[in-house]
């Protein structure tokens, strides 16, 4: 699965995207796996209320299922316009 990071999430984790082998059932499970890896992941995901997630390029919630997903992206609240 491709995992993408944007804005300060990208900066904190230190890379824009990576391939992740996972059997996580939900986005939240994936987050727990990533947090367990290294301190920079734990720091980036410390406060989920400050984060947003998209699965296959659609905004969703952290309890969304990952079955069939090819791409998950984490980022802060958007500031377009």
């Amino acid at each position: 699965m491709d995992v993408l990071y944007f804005a300060w999430v990208r900066e904190r984790i230190g890379l824009p995207r990576e391939q992740v082998e996972t059997s996580a059932v939900t986005v939240a499970d994936l987050v727990e796996e990533l947090k367990a890896r290294e301190a920079r992941y734990a720091a980036a995901f410390a406060d989920l209320s400050a984060l947003r997630v998209a699965v296959d390029q659609e905004l969703t919630e952290f309890d969304a299922p990952l079955a069939g997903a090819r791409e998950v992206a984490f980022f802060p609240p958007m500031t377009g316009g």
């Binding site: 944007f6 990208r10 390029q57 500031t79 377009g80 316009g81």
Partner: protein, 147 residues
Amino acid sequence: MRIEVQEAPFDLGRETSDFASGHKDMGAIVTFTGVVRDLARGDLDRMEIEHYPGMTQKALEKIAAQAQARWSLGDVLVIHRHGALTPGEMIMMVATAAPHRKDAFEAAEFLMDYLKSRAPFWKKEFTRDGAEWVAAKDADEDALTRW
């Protein structure tokens, strides 16, 4: 409907004029243009706008389609830039054409409210002293409750 996500500047005058022309049944044209504001301290060197290439176009199309489903619109235009911009540069524009002004105004405001908080763009401000990500405003999230 036309949605453009681009790094290059756009010509607001030409876009507005082209959009407004040739809609004989549309009595009302509304445009919104967002411009990079300098900081209160007057020391903004540049703003850099990051986006999510795979998602941005689709997200904007979805927002525009929602506006078209909700209001009687003849046409919708969204142009949003990414990359580095300096104070005074135009970041983005939306335009709506409708038979009546209420639809044109409301749809433009709806597009802006959703674009602010639901389109995958992130702004970072650079000054001589460093760089900071622009924080999302509660007011922008609250604005969505209107719709």
